[in-house]
């Protein structure tokens, strides 16, 4: 860019600026304060509040700093009499209608209007007329409205249009009757809707779950890391009286900028669910009893020793959530490996492990998160990125606004909030073949690797116009990336997808990246919570069973960390059977439930997000450590401490840690500096034939992804939760004689459930969507397979 630098004078200070930059950007950068309401660094300029009026030499009237481009030699006064008079006058106008309800307003204490009224307002209003009143609207479970307080800055409206990509709020009516709202009674459905709470300068839009529960000045702000997707958004906890009152974004331009997804913002409520487990419990002769930690842990030691003694240590397996911290996962794998088994895994939603030995150090994004917005072409495979990694989606959306072509190969026709150049919607078993077709489209280019296996794999693929177009787009992109999403990683032919995507990436000069589904998938790989690799990706001397085989083989004892297997595992039904059949099951869990009690023998209450110190490693490979900011409830303890004591009880070496920091240091020392690459010579497997019947398609809705979100009250009232319904295309439904609301008989692998039907045009005509994470579908079996349908 050709940037002309100009010099301006503000309040007598000479400042350098890019020509054409808005004055307020320059003053902000130089820490000269100009009051404002409508201006926001990440939104377009509306210049409708007029609070930022300043005095510009030679201008006949005061000018709005947010909409005045700088020019060489410009002389600006921000505090001259003319500027101050203008600002005061604007404030007086704003206060004509704004209610004087600060004492009962949640924004009080952090209200931009309140602050500026202190600086620019009069003591007493000159207006005695009635103030206008606007009826409140219910816009959903997350955002509370008090629209009488709105000052019409339109930040929330612009946010919807420009950032969320979903215009839900608007300004209806005119003049004094103008109102901000949805016009019709409607809930906001954007996965980023909570950001309007931060944007609203007044108390018109506030947090519903937080409402009336604390004042800003009573709370302490402590930094943290969001625990739900692989982005690792930076957050601030607001704490009062040892309780997390709310979570807000912390600015980090290279990760989440100033935004936060609703899931990351509101999941803290799950900390205070009544099902929290607050004391260790053991099952003795069929009865559950609360015990102290010592009793519980010796019970664990004896139980596990018994199994290892009577069978072998290989009859012991551990499944850990990828939302656990690096430190927890590191100790968990050390515990298992020290006990003589390598049966440890976090990949509870994966079904194909064939190429695990070739996998990169961790499923890497392939580039920094911020780089995504600079791509010219992006191919998404098996991903609902908008709901699964909302912040990544925002970067992609930005890329499309600069002309990036997004290509999509998915099993559901998702409503993405940006333009998609080409999309292919096809049932899961045909996805590898579809991708093979895109590779094949490049056959003439001479760029495809001569690998004979690859040749065989693509030989039978057909190439449609769309596939040609995709191949060409990637080939012609200056910068391109192929992203494998949550559904690709759970795919029964994940290995094939990896190899084909990589072949395509190599042939087109694009990157390849993985969008993993939990906060610490990268950390789990690096910490060695995998059966085939120890910490730092070192190939293990002794290989253990992967998550799926551990359950399939019905081991004698299991240790679980932070999981609700019937909801979290790819095959909930099999998980429950294996756990029920086991002799001894230890569950380190934050919640207790009837289904956990049905299979477990010991429940150890653990601290979770916000309650424990630790580290998450995000998709990009950034290590982000955090502190526990509130104490866990009752007797619950951080899992790393529990695991440390377990190590001590078994008299194992390498468990003498006093802080989580020491654990992290040890891991870091062990692995040294490792680079990661996604450009791997995968072996190319034979592609399996597409299925002929009705295929099951599975996704986990964003607010059903892990135990914490599933226990977060307000999030559970949104539409992004598993609904326990059979989603079916209207055409297939009518062919099967099914209609909206009817109960269908759904059979998979001889398991039968009855589910209400909902017509859903996003589903291909030879498949049905069943969302995972709902108890009613847990007994159905794995995420993929043939479905038989009928009327109940």
């Amino acid at each position: 860019m050709n940037e002309e630098i100009v010099t301006i004078q503000v309040d007598g200070r000479p400042l350098q600026a890019r020509k054409g930059q808005m004055l307020i950007e320059v003053t902000d950068k130089n820490k000269i304060y100009i009051p404002r309401f409508c201006y926001h660094q990440k939104l377009s300029i509306a210049a409708n509040c007029r609070m930022c009026l300043v005095d510009v030499e030679k201008a006949p009237k005061p000018l709005p700093a947010c909409a005045t481009p700088v020019m060489d030699g410009m002389q600006v006064a921000t505090r001259s009499k003319r500027a101050l008079d203008a600002q005061k006058a604007v404030m007086e106008f704003l206060l004509i209608n704004h209610p004087l309800d600060c004492p009962i307003c949640d924004q009080g204490g952090e209200c931009e209007l309140q602050d500026l009224a202190m600086g620019y307002g009069r003591d007493i209003s000159r207006y005695h007329e009635k103030k206008r009143v606007v009826k409140d609207k219910n816009i959903g479970p997350l955002v509370q409205t008090d629209m009488t307080r709105c000052i019409h800055c339109t930040r929330c409206v612009r946010f919807g249009e420009e950032i969320a990509g979903l215009k839900e709020l608007g300004a209806t009516g005119r003049g004094e009757h103008m109102e901000i709202g949805t016009y019709i009674e409607k809930s906001m459905i954007s996965e980023m809707s909570g950001n309007v709470i931060d944007l609203c300068p007044v108390g018109a839009l506030t947090s519903k779950p937080f409402r009336y529960s604390a004042r800003t000045w009573e709370m302490q702000q402590i930094p943290g890391i969001a625990p739900h997707d692989s982005v690792g958004s930076n957050i601030h906890f607001h704490i009062k009286g040892n309780r997390v009152k709310r979570v807000v974004p912390a600015e980090n331009d290279s990760i989440n900028e100033v935004w936060l997804s609703d899931r990351d913002r509101f999941s803290y409520e799950g900390l205070y669910h009544p099902d929290r487990l607050t004391a260790p419990m053991i099952k003795k002769s069929g009865y559950w009893q609360e015990v102290d930690w010592e009793t519980a842990l010796s019970f664990v030691r004896d139980g596990l020793k018994h199994v290892m003694h009577h069978h072998s240590s290989d009859q012991l397996g551990a499944l850990a959530s990828a939302s656990a911290t690096v430190e927890e996962l590191f100790l968990m794998q050390r515990l298992l490996r020290s006990l003589g088994t390598a049966n440890i895994d976090h990949r509870v939603r994966q079904s194909d492990f064939t190429d695990q030995d070739k996998a990169p150090l961790f499923p890497w994004l392939g580039m920094p998160i911020a780089e995504l917005e600079k791509q010219d072409a992006v191919l998404l495979v098996g991903s609902h990125v908008r709901k699964e990694q909302p912040i990544i989606n925002h970067r992609l959306r930005k890329a499309t606004m600069h002309g990036c072509q997004v290509l999509v190969i998915n099993s559901l026709n998702y409503d993405l909030n940006f333009n998609v150049a080409t999309r292919i919607i096809t049932s899961p078993t045909t996805i590898p073949e579809t991708l093979a077709g895109v590779v094949k489209a490049l056959a003439g280019s001479g760029k495809i690797s001569p690998d004979p296996d690859l040749k065989t794999a693509i030989s039978t693929a057909t190439v449609s116009d769309n596939q040609h177009l995709m191949a060409e787009t990637l080939l012609n992109a200056g910068k391109g990336v192929i992203l494998l999403g949550n559904q690709a990683m759970a795919h029964p032919q994940y290995g094939a997808l990896c190899s084909l995507a990589t072949a395509l990436a190599k042939a087109t000069g694009c990157h390849i990246g993985f969008l993993s589904d939990a906060a610490n998938v990268s950390g789990a790989w690096i910490a060695g919570a995998t059966p085939h690799r120890g910490p730092g990706g070192k190939a293990a001397d002794k290989k253990g069973l992967n998550a799926a085989t551990m359950l399939e083989n019905e081991l004698k004892a299991y240790v679980l960390l932070g999981l609700e297997p019937e909801l979290d595992c790819l095959d909930g039904h099999q998980a429950m059977q294996a756990l029920q059949a086991a002799e001894f099951v230890v569950n380190l869990t934050a919640y207790s439930s009837e289904s956990i009690k049905a299979y477990a023998d010991v429940l150890l209450p653990i601290a979770q997000f916000a309650e424990t110190s630790g580290t998450y490693i995000n998709n990009e490979g950034i290590w982000q450590s955090f502190n526990g900011v509130v104490p866990p409830p009752g007797e619950a303890r951080p899992a790393w401490k529990v695991l440390r004591v377990m190590g001590n009880l078994f008299e194992l070496e390498g468990f003498d840690f006093d802080t989580s920091l020491e654990i992290k240091e040890e891991l870091k020392n062990q692995i040294g500096l490792k680079s990661v690459s996604n450009m791997i010579n995968w072996s190319v497997p034979h592609l399996r034939a597409a299925s002929s019947g009705i295929e099951r398609i599975t996704e986990v809705p964003m607010n059903s992804i892990d135990p914490l979100t599933r226990h977060a009250a307000a999030l559970q009232k949104t539409t992004d939760v598993a609904d326990g319904k059979l989603h079916i295309h209207p055409q297939l439904a009518s062919a099967k004689g099914l209609d909206e609301g009817q109960i269908a008989r759904v059979e998979q692998d001889e398991q039968v459930v009855e589910l209400p039907v909902t017509l859903d045009e996003r589903v291909p005509k030879n498949g049905v969507l069943i969302q995972a994470g709902h108890p009613d579908v847990a007994s159905l079996g794995p995420w993929h397979g043939q479905i038989k349908l009928g009327k109940a």
């Binding site: 608007g170 209806t172 019709i184």
Partner: protein
């Protein structure tokens, strides 16, 4: 009003009219046809718009629904409630006010037995809410009935005009 699942299609006539407007604007500016579209759809629906109709216009022009609600609620010639066949707008802005617009309004209210913003129960008349300057100040007071201007009003001339309507 609440969100509705009810979906309706625009009539083929409406679509035809809208298409004629769409071609007048650059390809990526379909939204520019929104006013013309709403006018036509309102006309077909006895002079008022419903949420499903507004939604249908939004879908047809690829607009967010709220964007259409914004337009409809902004312009006073677009109605969202059933109203009488003949719409009467009496200007009450400054010039007309000085020339007796308030008495004209009062006269109509008494004559029809309704207040501004209401329709007669026989569905014949609709007296619109306070109307702003309609740019006929030099012949104030004035009113607009079904898009036709009537100027230099007196109570008698108003009677005559209104009585003639079916």
């Amino acid at each position: 009003m609440t969100e509705t699942a009810e979906k309706i299609e625009l009539s083929s006539n409406a679509r035809e009219v809208i298409d004629q407007w769409i071609v007048k604007y650059p390809k990526e500016q379909k939204r520019s046809a929104v006013l013309a579209a709403l006018r036509e759809v309102q006309h077909e629906n006895q002079g008022y718009l419903t949420v499903p109709l507004m939604d249908a216009v939004a879908d047809y022009l690829d607009l967010p629904k709220i964007a259409v609600y914004e337009v409809v609620s902004f312009y006073s010639m677009l109605e969202t409630k059933p109203c009488g066949r003949h719409s009467i707008s009496v200007c009450t802005n400054i010039s007309c006010m000085l020339r007796g617009a308030d008495e004209i309004v009062e006269h109509i209210e008494n004559k029809l037995g309704i207040k501004t913003g209401e329709s007669t129960s026989d569905g014949r008349y609709y007296l619109k809410c306070e109307e702003e300057c309609l740019a006929a100040c030099c012949h104030a007071p004035m009113m607009m009935v079904d898009h036709v201007y009537y100027e230099n009003l007196t109570p008698e001339s108003v009677d005559e005009i209104l009585d003639k309507l079916d």
